[in-house]
Structure formats: C-alpha cells, structure tokens
Amino acid sequence: MLRSIAKLLCLTTLFALPALGAEAKKLVVWHAYRAEEKAAFEKVVAAFNQQNAAKGLQVESLAVPYDAFADKISAAVPRGKGPDVFIYAQDRLGGWIEAGNTVEPIDFFLDDATKSRFLPTTMEAMVYRGTTYGLPLNYKVLAMIFNKKLVAKPPKTTGELVKVAKGLTDPATGRFGFAYNYGDFYYHSALLNGFGGRVFENGSTPVLNAPENVKSIELLMKWARKDNVLPKEPSVAVITSLFSAGKAAIVFSGPWFLGEIAKDIDWGLAPLPTIDEAGGKPMRPWITVEGVYVAAPSKNKDAAFEFARYLTDVPAAKVLALEGRQSPANKKVYEDPKVAADPVLKVFRQQVEVAVPMPNVPEMSMMWSPATNAMNAITKGSTSPKAALDKAQEALAKDVASLRKK
C-alpha cells in the first residue's frame, strides 16, 4: 500500500510541475459564454493577444458552465487560485464584495472618458455602495417577440396587446395570444417597475409589498383570469415550446430566447408596450449586465484593467455585437452603420433606455424564493395579491434582519 501511495505522490508532483513554469505576464479570464458568444469573445481575446504580443502579455480564457460559475468564483478567487479577470452578471456582485477579497474596486483606474463610454444604466449596475467594481460588457433585457404570421403589427400599448391576444387565444387547444413566464419575478419586473414598484429601497431595505407592486400584479391577474389570454403554469420551457410550435403569438423574453426558436417560425422583435393602466408609462424590465471584474488577488491588476478596457472598447464591442449576437454596453458601438442597421440590436438598445438595473445587493438572492411562492399562490388563485405580498415581505424582512444582526 505504501508503494501505491508513493506512486500517487510521484504523479501529483508530475501534475504540479507545469504550473511552475508559468509566465509572469499571463492573464487568465473566466467567462460563461457558449457557442457564438464564446467564438466572438475568443476572437476579441486573440486580437488583444496579437496587439500585446510585443509586451509579452497574453490572455488565456476559460469557459465555465453558468451553473457552476458563481460557486467556482467563490471557492477559488478568495484563496488566490482564481483568474485575473472574470465576467458575470451583476446579480452576484454585492455578495462577492461583502464576502471580501474577490472583486477589486476600480474607481482609482477609472477616468471620465472610460466612464462615459457606457450606457448609464449599465454603469449603474456596476456600482455597489458608491464604489465601482467593474466595467459593463454586455446587457440582457426583456423585449417583445412576436410571430409575424399571427401578428402583423406589434401592439404598442397594453390595451392593444390584450385586444390582439384575445383574438388569438384558445386555451382548449393550447393556443395563446400572449405568453411569458409571468410567475417569475424576473419576467414580472417589466410590469412591476412600470408601475413604479421596487423590491428594495435605500440600498437593501425590502419593500416587496409596496402598493405599486400590488397594482402591477393586479393587472397581471386581470390578463390571466379575466381576459384569459395567458397559459397556466408558465415556465421557460413551456413558453419556448409554445412559441416554437406557433401556439403563442407574442412572448416577452430576452436575447437568449431568439436562439431557441424553431427554425420555421418567422419572428419579429419590438419594445415592450406601454401600460395604459399606469397612465401610459413604459414597461421597465430589469436589465442584467455582464460586468468585467478584476479579481482582488490578481498579481497583474494594471494589465487586467487594461484588458477590461479593451474588451469594452468599440472595436471589441462591434465583434461581440455582430458575431456574438450580444448587446454591448458601450453606447458608441451603436453608431456603427452595421450595428445600427441590425433590427435586433436596435430594439434591445431602445428597450434599455427605459430599463432598470436589477439590484446587485446580496439580499436580492433572498427575494426570489418568497416572491416565487407569492406569485404561485396568486396565480393559482388561492390568495389575493396584497395578502401574498405581505406574507412574502414578512419572510424577506425576517431573512434580511437575521443576516445583519450583530
């Protein structure tokens, strides 16, 4: 047995050896991109490497599955084993900052010229308690996707929407004029913010049962119960399948949805309608912003920040937009004729004007569970919106308080 342990140790050292020969000026970047997004990202990285070959600076990228990304960052980065740069949505940002030694503040590096190159809402998503922690790379936001065969002209207001939808709905055969994953607060955010609702106030004080929130759900329930234009038990999978089968005419979803639509569906994209019931105010969905963060234990922070600047500059953004089919946070890139002519990018760019950055406070992760429970209870008709939200607020407030005591 001793011999096999010794063998094991030998193997271990063999594996460890190559790491010793690493160059001093090698940056590692972790991201969660796949398919064309990954190809475009790697193209940008290659261009950066070519440009910096003379300086001996090289960037290596590693794709990590989204489901494992946050855990991997939380395990590796604070122990100094992680990358120099990583890219992720802002929803985990607050948590990593509070945990410490994960994300490097970059205000010191940030000049006004760099700051002003981004869409303001995307920059806002990178700020936590007054300090900037990342450069916004891309954003994702909900918009309206419609089946051109069924809907000639996309509705501009909720009134039109319901009218169009009613003519196309037949629940008995599983046809719906209008469908989205309304039980999920992320999708509901468009209505919620449209009514002026919010889930946190003054940073992280929960206000899940704000009267505006109740009103927004009441409108949703009118659609689901009275107008009867929405499918029951919505889920991402059901909505995708319905739309792909031509059984849902209008869907609220984000850019990821476009790649999942069946090839034989002729679809169009338009901004979300305005809300008649809220005095014609626009729907304001949450945006998620993929930020480029410099890892706090990185040994090459200056180079890492330069790389982050390069990634978010116009030439890189153009590649990400046109080849990666992403929506860059750099606003200058939308002046490029090719990008400007792209109907999809144009609509998302329009939508982001009225969108709200999803809160990046760590308490946000506590919100989903009570909110989902409330939405399920409401959509199943077992509780009134007000009562369900009161209960959710109570649960959330308790969780937030128990985190902060002492």
Binding site: F108, E233, K380
Partner: protein
C-alpha cells in the same frame, strides 16, 4: 457472532463486539509481569503535568502577547482618532491640515508616521514624510490607500443606513516589521470625504511569562504524588485519586499565578491608555487654540479609546481617568476566562493521566500490533475517508456553532461563536401553523418539524417503492431460461444511466397542467386534468414518482447480484421437502438476500433523505415550500439566505437524525455482524 479467526487466533481473547479505541475502557486485569500501578501512575502524572504546564504556559504567553498587542492597538487608535478629529476641524484639506499634521507629529512617539487623503481629486493632502511631496495626486501604486478610504466610507454609510453596526470603521493591520498600520475616516458634515492613515513605531514584543513558576507547577504535582504513593503502595483506586489530586495541585497553583499576571497586565494597560488619552487631549486643545481651529464641538478625548466601530470602549471617564467600577468588572471577566481555559486543559490532561495510569494506552498499543493485518486491510480506505470526508465534516460542525454568514466571512470563527443558539432556533420552533391575514390557520411550511415530517415520509415511501419494485424485477429477471433477459435488463437500467438532470425535468414537464402527458392520459380515460403542483399531496406524488423511477434500477442491480449468492441446491432440497414457492421465497431467498440488501437499504435511506436534485428540479418546493425536504431547506439557508452557520446547524441536525437511524438499524439488523 461466529467470526472466524482465520489468521488471528489471538483475536479470540477480545470480547466479541469490543469497540475500538475508546477513551476509558474498563480496565483489563493486569497481565503478569506488567509494570506496577505506581510506576504507571507516576508516568501518567509526569506526562499530564508536562502537558498541562506546557499548554498553560503557551496559553499564558499568547494571552500576554495578545494583551500587549491589544494595548498597542488601543493607544494607536487613540492617536489615529485624535488625528482624524484634528483633520476634521482643519476642514479635511488644505494648509490647515498640513499644519495640524505637523503639530501632531511633534507630540507623537518617535517613528510614528501619518498620511491624510482627500477623496476629491484623489489627493494625498498631507504626510509626515516630506519626501512624499504632499499635496499631490495619488499615484497608481497608492491605489490600495484610496480603496481603503473608499471601504471606510462605504462602511460608515452602511452602518448608518442599516442602523446595525457591523462594518469596521477603523482598520488596523499588523505589518511584517512589527508596526501597526491604522486607517480612520475623515467625516465632514456627515459625509466621509477622506482618510487618515497612521503607522506606529515598531511594537515591543511582550515578555514571556517566567519559567520559574512553570517549573514549580511541574514539580509540585510530582513531589505530591511521590509522597502520597509512598503511603498508598500498590492500591489502584487510591493511586488514581492521589494522581488526580497531585495534578489539581499543579493546575491550581498555575491558575493562581496566571490570574495574577493577567490582572496586573490589564491594570497597567488601562492606566497606560488613560495616560495617552490625556496627552492626546492636551495636545489637541493646544493645537486648536494655536492654529485657530474651531473648538466646537468640544474635544471628548475619552471617545478616542474606541473599538473598530468607533464606539467608545467605556473604560474611561469623561475626564480621561480609568473608571474603577468598569475596570473591576473587566478584570473579573478576564480572570474568569483564564480559569476556564486552564480547567479545560486540566481536564484533557486528567484524561491522559488516567488513560496511562489505568493501562489503556498500553492495551491500545498491543491491540494494534495483534490485529495489524486487519487494520492494514482497512487502513487505505479509512485514510482516504478521513482526509476527504471527515475534515469537511468537522468544518461543518464547527461552522454550526457560529453565526457565520456572507457579511462576516472575513472574520475569524472564534469571534462569531454563538454556541448552541442555531440548534435552539431550529429545534425550539414549534410554530407549525400561523394565522393568515384573513384569520384562518394555515400550515407554516418553513417550520423544521413540517419539513422533517415531509422528509421522513419521502424517505420511507421512496425506499419502499425502490426496494419492492427493484426486488420484484430482479426476481423475475432471475428466472431460469426466460427469453430476452439481457434485453430487459439493459432497458430497465436506463433511468440510472441517463443524467437525472434532464429526466427529472422531463418528469416535471409530464405533470404540467395544460401540456403534460399525465393529464392527457387522464383525459384519454375521461378524467379531469389535475393541477399537480397546487396541493402539497399531489406535488409530493410527482416527486415520489420521479424518484421511484430513478432509484429502482439500482435496487434491481443490487438484488440481481445478491441473488447469485444463493446455491441452487438449497431450492432443490426445499422442493424435495415439499415447500411451496412462497415458502421457498420466505425461507431461502429473503434470508440469503439480507446481507447485501440490508446495507443497500440503509444507504438508500441515507441518500434519499438527502436527495436534493429531484425535489429541487421537480417540485421546487411547490406549493409554498410545502414539499421541501431538509436538505433543500438547508441549501436555501446557505445559498439564498447566506446564513452559513445556520445552514451548517441544519446539516448537522440532518446528520444527527441519520446517525440515530443508522445506529438503531444496525442494532436491529446486526448488519455489521458476520452471519
């Protein structure tokens, strides 16, 4: 219990089922020629005294070093907050700040350095080191300084906003050269606009506690024991008591010594702090009048003796004198801590003493040698388990006694110790139902006991389904001469072969109210569609079906393997005796399956109890968290609510329940025994 002693005839000496190294097994009769009780106890007293004195000496010197460092930190905090106060009065930036800093330096101990940062324009406003060229813009390598200032600003704002003080407003870092680096915010009109950084001169290392008293503490018990042993002779009980007494004597002496040292240190320290507060206050007042700085609000020097949250520690009176009442209280607390630590060490040593004295250490050694072959067979597997399973396990248990959460991960666990509080919170909450807004009583699904009930039902039903379906199919597949057996076997293990991530979600889809095939099949036979995830019972059924489907192939394979151990001759004999098929099953098949099936059942109980994926993916706790099981609940506490300590306690409770089950099951089935 007819374990054969193939290679180890001597193993017969051990009583059957004797357990391994226990702390204090019943004393075996002294074998002839063994060393005398007196000698063993003498060795025991020697070892125990060495351990107790060594550990206590280490504890004491660490406590003194810690106290000395704490004193330096307190004095440095006073100096830093005094400087911050002056900088605020000087307006936070400009020449006034530089003058104030220069004056501050004159009264500061030699070698102390300071910097003042203003956030506007990223400026180094003033520095005691003229070579830095203040005022100027901060350079790129000074980024950590700026970030630290911003961190303090965020801390002050967060504490104010949440009205819970949890973020440090004064940062102290020990430097490799032994000096201390302190940073405090500069607050103007309620907003943090800058920062002062102070570097103290090198901290003097604390004196080691005297080795004379340690030597005495070592000698005392030995002498006492020898004297008593002379009187007592070879009487075991007497000797054990005498050794205990001797040890207590040594510990008592050293406790008295330690308490007096610690108390004296503390008293001197608080005088020293009071002294430095008075000096700083005097300098401040003098500077205010000389530089014409605003004298309003008046200087409250005692508030400079503050903790990391800038809260006054309360040891000093407003005049800067030591508050005798507070001091006495704190001293009593300190001596209590010392005594408690020493008692813990003494108990450890006592255990060691009795183990040696009563001869169990020797017995342990002999056992290891006698059964070396058996231990060698088990050791490789056990070592792997120890490293990779038991360390995380103890980490989890330690965590469960703390209030560790996302917001305090950077602080050491000892500061977050809450004892049994998490367990009390979990187990004492009997609030199984609550009154809803409209006055009706509704079940409180997040209650621990509800979830426990669901988990138990979940486990029992699943294992029953898994075992009965698996066993039934294995028996059928074991029929001799049945055509197509290999094909059936392969098709029936497919649920195990396919990643359960996708099959679980397929099952969830099959239970969809509008588009699920289950409801379509119901409709085919004229039934009404069911909203499966609307009530706890139907929602539970969906998860149960999915998990039953996922888990029977494993049981089938285990049963198939186990069925092979039954010699066919047994059935032949039974048939000759005229036994019916059912009787054969009862008398031959089931007993022969037991050795392989019992462990499989025990382990599948454990796995099902902790089956996370199916619940998470199929019901997601719907409706309203009613179908959560303990493991998914603990996941929520850890990763949605970020309460690591609480989640660890939850996990430990789960572990405890399973442990009780395991021990109980083991007693009943004697699964660890050879048949």
């Amino acid at each position: 219990m007819t374990a054969p002693a193939l290679q180890q005839p001597s193993s017969q000496q051990t009583p059957p089922g004797a357990e391994a190294p226990r702390a204090l097994p019943p004393p075996p009769p002294a074998p002839p020629g063994a060393p005398s009780h007196r000698l063993r106890f003498a060795v025991g007293v020697l070892v125990a005294s060495l351990v107790v004195t060594g550990l206590s000496w280490m504890l004491l010197s660490r406590a003194r070093a810690g106290a000395a460092l704490a004193l330096e930190e307190r004095k440095a905090t006073v100096a830093t907050l005094a400087l911050a106060d002056l900088v605020v009065r000087a307006g936070g930036s400009g020449d006034g700040v530089r003058q104030a800093l220069a004056a501050w330096q004159q009264q500061a101990p030699a070698g102390a350095q300071a910097k003042v940062i203003a956030f506007d324009g990223l400026s180094l406003e003033a520095a005691t080191d003229a070579g830095l060229g203040a005022p100027r813009r901060l350079q790129r390598d000074e980024k950590p300084l700026y970030d630290q200032g911003q961190r303090l600003r965020a801390a002050v704002e967060t504490n104010r906003e949440e009205s819970v003080v949890r973020k440090e407003e004064v940062e102290i870092a020990a430097q490799p050269d032994g000096s201390l680096l302190l940073a405090a915010p500069v607050e103007l009109d309620g907003q943090v606009r800058g920062m002062v950084e102070v570097r103290t001169p090198r901290v003097v290392v604390a004196p080691s506690p005297s080795s004379g008293s340690a030597g005495l503490a070592l000698l005392l018990p030995l002498v006492a024991f020898f004297a008593l042993a002379l009187v007592l002779g070879e009487r075991r009980v007497g000797l054990a008591l005498a050794a205990t007494f001797a040890l207590a004597l040594g510990v008592g002496f050293y406790a008295w010594h330690s308490v007096s040292v610690v108390v004296e240190d503390r008293r001197a320290a608080s005088e020293e702090v009071a002294d430095s507060v008075r000096t700083q206050a005097e300098t401040a007042r003098e500077l205010i009048s000389r530089l014409g700085l605003p004298a309003d609000p008046p200087v409250v020097a005692s508030s400079w003796d503050a903790d990391a949250f800038r809260k006054p520690r309360g040891w000093l009176t407003a005049a800067g004198q030591v508050d005798a009442g507070v001091l006495a209280g704190r001293l009593a607390q300190a001596s209590g801590d010392v005594v408690r630590a020493l008692v813990a060490v003494a108990l450890l040593a006592l255990l060691l003493l009795q183990a040696i004295g009563l001869g169990s250490v020797g017995a342990l050694g002999r056992t290891l040698v006698t059964h070396r072959r058996a231990y060698a067979y088990v050791a490789p597997a056990l070592v792997g388990m120890l490293v990779l399973v038991f360390f995380p396990f103890f980490y989890g248990i330690t965590l469960s006694f703390t209030d560790s959460n996302l917001l305090n991960t950077s602080r050491p666990l000892t500061e977050l110790w809450v004892g049994l509080k998490n367990y009390v919170d979990i187990l004492s909450d009997f609030d199984l139902s609550r009154t809803s807004a409209d006055g009706a009583r509704v079940a409180n699904y997040t209650n621990f006991y509800w979830t426990l009930g669901v988990t138990v039902v979940w486990t029992v039903t699943n294992v029953v389904i898994g075992v009965s379906v698996g066993l039934l199919l294995a028996l059928v597949l074991n029929t001799r001469g049945l055509a197509l057996r290999p094909v059936y076997r392969v098709l029936l293990i497919l649920p195990w072969a396919m990643p359960n991530y996708i099959t679980s979600l397929i099952w969830r889809g099959m239970f969809h109210q509008q588009f699920g095939v289950v409801n379509h099949v119901l409709a085919l036979f004229g039934g009404e569609p069911v909203s499966w995830f609307e009530t706890p019972f139907t929602s539970f059924l969906t998860a149960l079906t999915t998990n039953g489907w996922l888990s029977f192939p494993f049981m089938m394979v285990v049963s198939l393997g186990a069925l092979q151990s039954i010699p066919v001759e047994l059935y032949e004999a039974a048939r000759v005796d005229g036994a019916s098929r059912w009787q054969q099953f009862r008398a031959i098949t089931l007993p022969s399956l037991k050795p392989a099936l019992v462990p499989a059942v025990i382990l599948s109980v454990v796995w099902t109890f902790n089956q996370f994926n199916v619940i998470y993916l199929v019901t997601a706790g719907e409706p309203g968290g009613s179908t959560e099981i303990l493991i998914t609940q603990s996941y929520k506490f850890a990763f949605e609510k970020y309460r690591y300590g609480y989640a660890a306690a939850y996990s430990t409770v789960i572990f405890g329940i399973l442990l009780v089950y395991g021990v109980f099951q083991n007693r009943v089935t004697k699964a660890t025994e050879a048949v």
